[in-house]
Structure formats: C-alpha cells, structure tokens
Symmetry: C2
Subunit: 259 residues, 2 copies
C-alpha cells in the first residue's frame, strides 16, 4: 500500500491540508452533503469541491459518490474506499503522534544522536506481544520485578534490569507491551500444577501447526493469543487437541517489556 503513505505521510509539506481533507471526508460521512460538510470544516464550497476532485482523481478508486439533482437536490456519500481512508488515517495519525512524542525523549540534543538505542523504531521477531498495565514495580540495584495486568485479568511477572526500568521511564499505571518468544512458552495439561516465580496462564488451544520436528500451538487466553513452539513429540505425549484447556507457562526472566 505504498500509495497510501504517499498520500498521507509523504505530504509533509502540508500535513495540515491533509488534516482538512480527512476532516472533510469525515464531515461528508456525517452530513451526506458536500456543501454542508464544507460549512462544517469550515471551507469554501469551491475549496471543498476541488479537494474531493483531486482525491478522486489521485486515488486508484473514488473516495466519494456524488449525485446531482433529485429529491433534496442530490448529495455526496463516502465510498467504502473513502471510509477506509479515514479509518486508516486515524490509526496512522495516532501512531505518528506517539512517534513524535517518543523521539524527543530519546534524542540527545548535545551529541545529536539517539540516547539509549540506535533504533527504537522497529518490529521485533517475538510472536507474543500483549498489551498490559503496570501494577507493581519492585527494584534493587541490578534487577527489577514488574507485575503487569493483562486485559484478561491475568497478572504477568517480568524480571528485567533496573537500568531498563529507568531507561523506559516505567511507572505504575503505564500501558506497556509484554513480550516473550514462543520458544519460552511451555505447555501443560495439569491445570492444578503449582509453580513458583512463573507465569501460568490458562487458556483454550485455538490452533495447532505442525512441522517435522516442531509444533506451533496457539492458545487463547481470555482474548489474548499466545503462541508456543514445542517439539512434536511433546504435543503427542500431552495429547493436545484444538479446544483443549491448557496452561501456558513462561519464566518471568524470559519476559521482556516494551513501551
């Protein structure tokens, strides 16, 4: 979807104009008329008309459908494509704002470099990335123990270095991402198993994906999906099938935190 980034983002010259364009689309969706939407934004009718015309020509698919004449004189409505454009813009805009906020914190003005990490804007290979809220922080000189609450209600524990807590600026109540590799996830069918200092999450097996040696098992834990890679023989020994109840077990030292 390269075209989208060009329309929305590369337009750095005047992202302000872009915001008006999206506001216009949004208003059209609400009002059903270009002239009325133009007044809402506000924008002159011709200005609004030119914008829509430009977008319809530029986009691979029209953004609005216009009707002239008829009862009520006609009207303008968003196409499915136009609605997607608005929705996508909002996602990207929010993410962009977050980017702007973050980068000012991690940039070192005096040296002209990124303070902690060379790149913080990246995707990582870990399959398991779950949103959570920090509910407790315990720290000594070297290590810190974090407790985080998932939306399913489960509390997860992570042990990371105290330096990392400081670098991330972690505080109680922060929304964070709990990260762990699928290799770090063990499975157990003994639901009453007692373990210390471990994360134990009960869920339902959603999907099983086999290869010659390994096996990826996806477990639904209260709406969050956890991927586990275990050996094929382990799955056979436990006799795990889709729909079974299982425990996903993750060592707290295998759990990382992102913010």
């Amino acid at each position: 979807m390269k075209f989208l980034s060009e329309l929305i983002l590369m337009d750095g010259d005047n992202s302000f104009l872009l915001q008006k364009r999206i506001a216009l689309l949004d208003a059209i969706d609400k009002v059903g008329s270009l002239s009325a939407a133009a007044k809402m934004v506000p924008l002159s009718y011709k200005g609004a008309w030119d914008m829509i015309d430009a977008m319809n020509n530029f986009c691979p698919s029209p953004v609005v459908q216009k009707a002239t004449g008829g009862v009520g004189g006609g009207g303008t409505t968003l196409t499915e494509y136009g609605k997607n454009l608005v929705k996508t813009y909002e996602v990207i805009y929010r993410e962009h704002q977050k980017f702007l906020e973050t980068i000012s914190h991690v940039t070192d003005f005096d040296s002209g470099s990124l303070k902690f990490f060379r790149r913080f804007n990246m995707q990582i290979s870990a399959r398991n990335q779950i949103v959570a809220t920090v509910v407790e922080i315990k720290s000594d000189n070297v290590n810190a123990t974090l407790h985080m609450k998932l939306k399913s209600g489960y509390i997860m524990t992570s042990v990371i270095t105290a330096g990392a807590v400081e670098n991330l600026g972690l505080n109680l109540g922060d929304e964070v991402i709990v990260i762990f590799k699928s290799n770090s996830v063990l499975l157990s069918t003994d639901l009453n198993l007692k373990l210390s200092a471990m994360n134990k999450l009960s869920g339902i097996v959603e999907k099983i994906h086999l290869s010659d040696i390994n096996c990826e098992v996806v477990v639904n834990v209260g709406g969050d999906y956890i991927a586990s890679v275990v050996t094929k023989s382990a799955v056979e020994a436990l006799d795990i099938k889709v729909g079974d109840s299982v425990n996903a077990i993750i060592k707290s030292s295998d759990v990382m935190v992102g913010k």
Copy 2:
C-alpha cells in the same frame, strides 16, 4: 528537550519550511555568510534574514553569531548550539523517514488497523541490542535459523519462528538488530570451551556492577557492549575482574531479531 520537538516536529504544518531552515544553517556553516548561504539554498536575503532572526529569538540560545562590518564586510557563523541543531535534526529526520516507510507496510488499509503488532513503535527493556547484517536464512514450516554478522565480525545465530521471518520481511543482507536479555548471557573464563548451537563471543570485561544478590557484567566484544546479569556467587567463583578475557554465551533460541 521538549522545545526541540516543538521546533522540529510539531511544526507539521510546514515541515518543508523547517527543511529550508536547516538547509540554511547548513549552508551558513559551510560558507560563513548569510547572503551567500541564502543564494545557495536558494532564498531571498530578506527571507533568510527573517528566518535566522526568528530562530535566534525563539531558541533559548542564539543559533548564529553575526558580525557586521570589518574585513570582508563581516559574516555569520553557527554557534555550538546551532551546530547541534543541525546534527540533531539529521538524526531525527532519518528516523522519521524510517518510521514513514515502516508504517505504510504494517498498516492494513482495508481494516484501518496495524497489521501485525498493535504497536511497533516502542522501546524494549532488553539491554543488549546490537546492529548486525543477515548473512544466512534457513527455514522450515515452523522455525527459522538466522545467521547474522556483527560489525566485530562475529556471527550470531538466532532461532525464531518462520512466521516472524515473514512478518518482518527479512532478507539476506538486511540490517537488523540482534536482541537478547542480559539474563540470557552466561559468562565463562574457559576460552576454549566447545559448545554446540550456541553463540560464543570473546571479549574483555569493561565494568562490574554489584548488588546483594546479582551482578551486572559489561563485556566489550569488538566494540559492541554486551551486558550480562549473573549471580554474585558466580562472579566470585569465576574470579572475574575488569580487564579479564571472558566468553559471553547466549543460546540461539534466546536471541530475538528486530528490524
């Protein structure tokens, strides 16, 4: 450094103007004169003068030092502050471009959401994040083995899911970030130790940071720093001191990859 983000980034209305401002500063630094720099950008003299005046007034510290009269008529030179501004802008600009490029790939236009991860723009708690280049990819249905070359020449191995390789769009030659927790790093003084399927990196102990129970040891491996957290007793047993040669050992399944 909140002010910086306001100057550089919040100026979304006309980041184009901003680019001109930076280009002007850069030209001044090269030429040593405002009028000559204005011609280079290009920009009218008054336009350039107004820009500089605005920046000098807006910034907490002047951006340039101007001299009128004297041999050669005077001149304009960047202050230390102005030089930092240019340097910092370049870092942020590059990072911003990367952001723009990435977000168009991970945004799903049809649903208006982020495709793979809810947030990819984050810092993570892992202390060890080292730049490397992908030199080999072996993949089966579930797992993939990656070989990556550090700038020090060492090859590191990572085992991640095949799905992750696909999501990240990993290819040979890509620049990636090797990520692992300091808890996953073992230390050994037996430099000839043979291990299979492990990452073994020789380096020099740079720093030792003690607490009651744990101990953080920082090892310099050919210019890259690797942090290891081990128990205090282990450090005492191995008798590790700053300046010693040690091996840092990381299981390949503990190594994550970021892009």
